[in-house]
């Protein structure tokens, strides 16, 4: 048994680790007695990647490229391949993933199972929108190849790993002029200004995202927008990552540190108007600090990410922020972003038209959970939903209300697969 924790470090649980490194054998290797769950980098925050007391099928060594068509940008690879590998491989050939989340230390399988999104949702949707085929091994011994339009495809994209083990995927990459992005930074004083900036930018800017000061009652922040740009400048040599060296005895993000940090960050960013950034710097700034999740101390942290429909988004976000700032909680890692007008591929995909707010909370026990209860009520009232990849505690009622296609999904589950989250939210 190996003790595994998810990215939020809320606790560890013992698992039987079973490596799946040979894609031809997976269909026989997962047909055991014990229920299992596919496991990649463990970068989801809560319990979607955990199966305490059960088996985790470790797919990190199933990371080979299978085929690449340099003309069409179609890449076939094994599901444990890291997005970072694809990006570094592709960028020198003029092809990159159309959608990347905030970290590139995730596997292709994890990106599909959580149908992750990036800063360009309004332009390119979610990760699953660019999967053209996937191979799924079921614990019944069956191997299914599915494509967009197939029921099993819609169940597996965003399916939280519960429909089978994704063995390989075919991805449509996108032409890029190089590794560079032209980035603009605009401070905003309140949410009204944020929405104006976001709406004005969506037509001409591929990437939009905002940092928001969660302690500021009006919701001030920094709006960033970026476009890929052709610059005849060599990519910088990859910088050595630094590692957060230890787990501090208490969270370094706390009531004392948060307010001055947010104020400082706002002032600092306010003065940077326009710059050229490498894609790793723009998309994945936190990847430079390995183990940054240790920052929150031994009790770990939660991330709360919700999406609210656009009609009620402005008022809803305002209420959420007020609740958070009056509780004096939250973290400087707070992100606000509008999603485009498109429905996701997956039955349980998180992204939907509207506005999403994501915020870290150091775990201080009952007071943290009490704030979440209040946030949940606002989300429920607004007809929004929470992101399972980040969640460790939402109620079944909120999950069911947020995911209306759940009943369509349930019969497509694989009976030999179970996770801590599925037991919590689906009963088994």
């Amino acid at each position: 048994m190996v003790a595994i924790s998810a990215w939020g470090r809320l606790g560890t649980a013992d698992h039987h680790m079973q490596p799946l490194a040979d894609r031809t054998r997976i269909k026989t290797e997962i047909t055991g007695q014990r229920q299992g769950l596919a496991f990649g980098m463990g970068r989801s925050y809560g319990d979607v990647c955990l199966n305490p007391g059960g088996t985790l099928w470790d797919l990190r060594s199933l990371d080979r490229f299978i085929a690449f068509d340099e003309q069409t940008g179609c890449l076939r690879c094994e599901s444990g391949t890291l997005l970072r590998e694809i990006q570094r491989f592709g960028v020198t050939r003029g092809w990159m993933l159309p959608v990347v989340p905030g970290t590139q230390y995730v596997t292709v399988g994890g990106a599909i199972a959580n149908d992750v999104h990036g800063k360009n949702h309004h332009r390119h949707g979610c990760f699953g929108d660019h999967v053209t085929q996937l191979t799924l091994a079921r614990t019944s011994g069956e191997v299914i190849t599915c494509r967009p339009g197939d029921t099993m495809f819609a169940a597996t994209v965003g399916g939280l790993g519960l429909t089978g083990v994704i063995v390989e995927a075919e991805l449509q990459l996108r032409r890029v002029p190089g590794p560079w992005l032209e980035v603009e930074t605009h401070p905003f004083e309140d949410l009204q200004e944020f929405f104006t900036l976001a709406d004005a930018s969506e037509a001409d800017w591929e990437h939009t995202v905002s940092w928001i000061d969660c302690l500021h009652p009006s919701g001030r922040g920094i709006f960033m927008r970026a476009n890929p740009v052709a610059v005849n400048q060599p990519a910088p040599p990859p910088r050595a990552d630094i590692r957060f060296p230890f787990v501090p005895p208490i969270s370094l993000v706390n009531r004392l540190s948060l307010r001055p940090f947010n104020a400082m960050y706002y002032r600092l960013k306010k003065t940077q108007a326009r710059q050229l950034q490498h894609y790793e710097q723009f998309f994945h700034p936190l990847d430079r600090i390995q183990d940054w999740n240790r920052l929150y101390g031994p009790r770990g942290f939660y991330q709360y990410q919700c999406v609210l429909p656009r009609e009620v988004g402005a008022a809803g976000v305002q209420t959420l922020l007020k609740t958070i700032s009056s509780a004096g909680m939250g973290s400087f890692l707070a992100v606000l972003k509008t999603f485009g007008q498109r429905d996701a591929v997956g039955m349980l995909s998180f992204a939907r038209p509207g506005v999403t707010l994501a915020l870290d909370f150091p775990n201080v026990g009952a007071p943290t959970l009490a704030v979440f209860e209040r946030l949940d009520a606002i989300v429920m009232e607004a007809g929004g939903r929470l992101y399972p990849a980040k969640d460790a505690r939402m109620s079944r009622a909120l999950f069911e209300a947020g995911y209306p296609r759940l009943n369509e999904f349930l019969p497509l589950r694989d009976a030999g697969i179970s996770s801590a989250m599925s037991r919590r939210l689906l009963g088994n």
Binding site: V2, P19, R64, F65, I66
Partner: protein, 245 residues
């Protein structure tokens, strides 16, 4: 610089595969040798995607068949070889070795005898060329016999003695013998161990490729293991025997 020609024994081992990915990023020709052809072919496909300029051959042989090893080396040596990496191994469960002598036998064969025979066979080819680097993957487990894994350790210890002997034999020639001693590395072989103490396989591979490039006689990867093993090797018996390692 011309393209390197690299022979990898145990090419589907995670460490070897990651070394190959680094080498292929500058284009190189490969002969990938494995016990299971389909697994080696999947590695080869991956390398072909990464580099269109690399020629990649795959071969399956019995790793315990001395004749097969010898003729493989002869065939491979028909064109010049720059690097031979002998990377295969199997981590047995120590308790199973103690319970079943055949498990112990198999572990000694595949971790000790087999790499030694490959080293012998390929050093003959390198001697004929008068140049080249032969790298063997040993292990920190080979530095001192410990109750937790002395069967594996004994096999890896044999690799070390063999490497030393070859280093002596080829001293002051154009042939370099490199002994790599990885610490515990995150690969499918160690999936049952807590990941906190394991080194990332791509970082281990990077250190190995560097050590081979430099022709280092002995390389601990990550480097911290050199200090750790220095201490472990020199602990007096009365202390060492009290440790549960």
């Amino acid at each position: 610089m011309s393209k390197k020609r690299i022979v990898i024994i145990g090419a589907s081992s995670a460490i070897a595969e990651h070394c190959a990915r680094l080498w292929v990023s500058e284009a190189a020709d490969f002969l990938l040798v494995g016990r299971d052809l389909s697994r080696v072919q999947r590695v080869a496909d991956d390398l072909r995607v990464r580099s269109l300029q690399s020629a990649i051959e795959t071969v399956q042989i019995d790793f315990l068949d001395a004749d097969a090893i010898s003729s493989l080396a002869q065939q491979a040596g028909q064109s010049p070889i720059d690097i031979v990496l002998i990377a295969h191994g199997d981590l047995p469960v120590q308790q199973s070795c103690e319970q079943d002598i055949h498990v112990a036998e198999a572990a000694l064969q595949i971790n000790g005898v087999s790499p030694a025979l490959f080293a012998e066979a390929f050093s003959k080819q390198l001697a004929q060329q008068g140049r080249g680097t032969l790298a063997l993957i040993g292990s920190v487990a080979g530095d001192r016999g410990r109750k937790a894994n002395y069967v594996y350790g004994a096999g890896k210890g044999m690799v070390e003695r063999y490497a030393q002997g070859l280093q002596h034999r080829f001293a002051y020639t154009g042939i370099k013998i490199v002994l790599i001693k990885p610490g515990p590395t995150a690969t499918p072989m160690t999936a049952h161990l807590p990941s906190s103490g394991l080194a990332a396989v791509d970082q281990v591979a990077r250190a190995i490729v560097k050590a081979i490039e430099a022709g280092k006689p002995v390389a601990y990867v990550p480097a911290k293991w050199q200090l750790i093993m220095l201490i472990v090797q020199h602990l007096p018996r009365w202390i060492f025997h009290k440790l549960n390692i």
